[in-house]
Symmetry: C2
């Protein structure tokens, strides 16, 4: 939050301190908005086309017109990266249904969506946590039924992440009907003792992770067997390896779940390899 | 939205056009906040103590410190009513977890909650819709599992209300496992052919409606039989009367559900009586 930090706000690049939205913005009153986060590595956006495609899809699912095409978004992102001298970190994008007198129903046709973008400087590649591995807990999945939509209605995820923090660990995997859905801000993976990479199949129960898709592709290219299936919590406890993926954590080894060591309690061999492969991909831009 | 409209924002009464929150407000980024709405009739707050008690309870459930006690809130509400010359309408209150660099986990201890309050002028007593009765539809309940918390994570309710608007009706009752949970912004009631007032028992599946509680008390005082039980959609279709309650609609007769007339397709006798009784209560202040 330096004084020179620049935020994109509805067509303008403004100083951080001036980046404010009206209280009648539907993002503030109703969580009526969509967001995306793309990583930046070496000044370049990672997996960005897929993030922009998911942004477009999420907006469509809740009936907000996408204010920009992919090329338009990327121009704004890169301009924001440039203005903030961002080399490594994240670009955050949020689109809300705009500003209108408070009423649950959609505002009048022609109400302009609200757009906010900002950057966060962050070490995403040489992340010390990836070296030692993350400890996680499982928590009940309290979320709504359309988790395939990346909306800003994130209160359940906030409460899950806070449970993790209070337990002294890095992430919470959410569990529904005995099976892991996903992390509070990540996709859950395990690797079985037979070396199969396992993650939950896509549905409305979880977000279609962008990093998830890339890692599955890399795993296939590395000749790892892949299975998309439900992961009961007990199956996760007994895994040989575990990890989670997200735009900001890339591939994060998990060494402990609910206090139980995973494998030998160190980042797993296949997991480390997948992280390296993803980093190569990210660096290639 | 007149130029003289005044909004309360973190300790100050500001002109509407200046009522803006930082993009890093957790209400905007995470739906990490709680709200309440109290009706104003004849310049007086309706059922306000109960609304403030629920606000306190909701805040406690998600770990936000309540920035004011009930007397403090009511002083601010009445000052806002006065500054806006509000005789009839609503006072809206929102408390978020405050402004902090974006991170799912709670911000550092000591981060001040964000408080916004505004008024909306609105005819709540002599509402023409209450004369002719509301038509409604049923929709799937997509919400999260802690609907007893009045959070601003309202996207599912927005989508439900919009479905109602697109169907040309006034409200959507949300249905889970075949039974009505509640309306998108109201509590659902039916009255059986035997004259029993039926509404769903309180649980995490629905909001503990303030108007709901008052109407149940009034129904009991009027010697109506009351049953708190699940209402299957078919049971609602076959009801003698139906209505919904909320801070802004008071007691709203329902004359049609999913295109099926309820009773004789007119506001029901008991429903009209309950609305009168509630209006008496509201006017008494």
């Amino acid at each position: 939050m330096t004084s020179s930090r620049i935020v994109y706000l509805n067509g303008d690049f403004v100083p951080f301190a001036e980046a404010k939205v009206p209280v009648m913005d539907r993002g503030y009153l109703f969580a009526d908005g969509i967001y995306e986060v793309s990583a930046v590595l070496g000044g370049r956006l990672v997996d960005n086309a897929a993030h922009l495609a998911r942004l477009d899809r999420s907006l469509g699912e809740i009936g907000i017109a996408n204010p920009h095409d992919a090329a338009g978004w990327e121009r704004l992102q890169m301009e924001l990266v440039r203005r903030n001298d961002l080399v490594e970190g994240l670009v955050y994008m949020q689109v809300t249904r705009g500003v209108a007198e408070r009423d649950f129903a959609f505002p009048p046709a022609g109400t302009a969506p609200g757009v906010v973008m900002f950057t966060q400087a962050k070490t995403v590649a040489a992340n010390p946590l990836a070296e030692k591995g993350a400890r996680i807990i499982t928590v009940e999945d309290l979320r709504w039924k359309r988790r395939d939509i990346k909306s800003v209605a994130l209160l359940a995820q906030v409460l899950a992440k806070q449970q993790a923090v209070e337990a002294g660990v890095s992430e919470a995997w959410m569990v529904e009907d005995g099976a892991v859905t996903e992390g509070s801000s990540s996709t859950a993976f395990i690797i079985t003792r037979e070396g199969t990479v396992v993650t939950r199949p896509l549905s409305t129960a979880l977000l279609p992770g962008i990093t998830r898709a890339s890692v599955l592709r890399l795993a296939a290219e590395a000749d790892l067997r892949i299975e998309e299936r439900l992961i009961p919590v007990e199956m996760a406890y007994e895994a040989a390896e575990a990890f989670y993926t997200s735009a900001s954590s890339f591939v994060m080894p998990v060494i402990q779940i609910d206090g139980r060591p995973i494998g030998d309690g160190q980042p797993g061999r296949h997991t480390r390899r997948l992280r390296e492969l993803y980093l190569d991909l990210a660096r290639a831009g």
